[in-house]
């Protein structure tokens, strides 16, 4: 017996967004760190902060924390991101 059955997925194609252009250099740039403040992130981001400033010549590293580590970042931080040259996020548990 043949069955005609229906697709259970949402079938919506997620619109792909391109990657942001790569920075040619870190020198003199402002880099944002958006952390979920989980324990495992702390040492990692501190190390990265030092590395970016001391070895890559980053001018400023701005730290911001999500209010809820399982929810999207707040609107105020999103607005602030527009003023940064690059962002590091999504790492750590």
């Amino acid at each position: 017996m043949t069955f005609d059955v229906l697709d259970p997925t949402n079938e919506k194609q997620v619109e792909a967004t391109g990657l942001a252009p790569r920075l040619a250099t870190f020198k003199g740039k402002t880099i944002g760190i958006v952390t979920n403040e989980k324990e495992g992130t702390k040492g990692y981001f501190r190390h990265l902060d030092r590395l970016m400033r001391e070895e890559l010549g980053v001018k400023d590293v701005v730290w911001r924390a999500k209010a809820n580590y399982s929810a999207p970042v707040g609107a105020a931080i999103v607005e602030e991101m527009a003023r940064w040259d690059a962002i590091v996020t999504g790492i750590g548990d």
């Binding site: 017996m1 043949t2 069955f3 005609d4 059955v5 229906l6 697709d7 259970p8 997925t9 949402n10 079938e11 919506k12 324990e39 809820n68 580590y69 399982s70 929810a71 999207p72 548990d93």
Partner: protein, 361 residues
């Protein structure tokens, strides 16, 4: 003659029932168990029962803005084994899950690995044969089994909550196959959970809760309500120390044997909640006793209640008639998610009725 709106979903053809199973498994559309083929007739029967058009929007997942339509929920409900009469419950559960405070994306993607517990209240339990007695948190009956399963299948297929994809659970638990319980309203003097949470008496309702696995407790050696509830409090404290110290909604399930002692002594769900609010709390310093001394820091004396207020406790009367058991079901992660209760068949986004315009004389 009414004109049926067409179903929008893509069709697939399979030669026989075995081919249907292999098709769905191979595409990652199942939970690993066999499914009921979602034919157009079966899906339409669900929609007709709930008086819903296929493209009716049940809600939008707030983080990734995924539209959840009646048609897609019905397909997944059929796959889970739902009959048409189960479908309004599934829809209501999704309406509740899509409320911001439930934090659906967070609870379904977290390494914490919780499941969505669905609690049923009201007359619909009897109409669909949902049982709140024997084996209440297990495979107690067809209705709760398939309703709970439909939640998981729809998460998998509509939100890509697949292990290793959006679902990043480290362990998960068996409730992720199906986690649904009906309250035993016919054998309790207490208010149903839905009424406690504001739904008018006599209406059917669902409560959804981002829940860890049930932790079974036992106290067959006292009839004193305080003794019985101390056992529940101890389990809640244990969860705070062994899992997460942060307070939030907790569910406790109280089967008949212990419930009878509490009810005979005049305890209500409210007095139970007030008692546990006082008794289920730990000092941060106690973390040092369970291997977590490294994060006590300078806050050893800070007290963490399991319940932010008595209102945070969900007391569910369910379970078989014999056995001095109960269960504590902890929240996924403190108060980051909140339990949500909605009436079945009610519009969750309707504006409240406008006050009558005063007459101008």
């Amino acid at each position: 003659m009414t004109v049926q709106r067409p179903l929008a979903s893509r069709r697939h053809r399979a030669d026989d029932i075995g081919a249907v199973q292999e098709l769905y498994h191979s595409k990652g559309w199942t939970d690993g168990l066999p499914i009921v083929p979602p034919t157009e007739a079966a899906v339409r029967a669900c929609l007709d029962w709930a008086v819903m058009d296929p493209d009716q929007l049940v809600g939008i997942e707030p983080v990734r803005e995924l539209a959840i339509t009646a048609e897609k929920l019905a397909i997944n409900a059929v796959m889970a084994g739902c009959l048409p009469m189960h479908f309004p419950v599934v829809v209501a559960a999704w309406q509740a899950m899509l409320k911001d405070e439930f934090l659906l994306h967070g609870i379904s993607s977290s390494t914490g690995g919780c499941a969505v517990l669905v609690v049923l209240n009201g007359p619909i339990r009897l109409e669909i044969g949902a049982s709140g007695t024997f084996n209440a948190l297990g495979n107690s009956d067809r209705a709760t089994s398939v309703i709970g399963r439909s939640i998981r299948l729809a998460l998998i297929n509509l939100m890509d909550v697949r292990p290793g994809s959006i679902d990043r659970s480290t362990l998960g638990h068996p409730g992720k196959f199906s986690y649904c319980v009906a309250e035993d309203e016919e054998d309790m003097t207490w208010e149903p959970l839905s009424v406690v949470r504001g739904v008018p008496e006599g209406l059917s309702a669902v409560t959804v809760f981002a829940a860890m696995a049930p932790r079974q407790v036992m106290n067959e050696w006292s009839t004193d309500p305080k003794d019985i509830l101390e056992t529940f409090a101890a389990e809640m404290r244990a969860n705070q120390l062994h899992y997460s110290i942060y307070g939030g909604n907790y569910t406790i399930v109280i089967p008949k044997q212990l419930r009878d002692h509490l009810q005979a002594a005049g305890w209500t769900k409210r007095t139970i909640a007030e008692f546990l609010h006082e008794r289920a709390r730990v000092r941060r310093g106690e973390w040092a006793n369970v291997g977590k001394g490294a994060v006590v820091r300078d806050r050893a004396d800070k007290v963490f209640p399991a319940l932010g207020s008595p209102d945070d406790l969900l007391v569910v009367a369910a379970g078989g008639p014999a056995g001095g058991f109960g269960a504590v079901i902890a929240p996924w992660m403190g108060s980051k998610t909140r339990a949500v209760t909605v009436a079945i068949g009610a519009c969750v986004d309707c504006e409240p009725p406008k006050p009558a315009t005063p007459a101008i004389n």
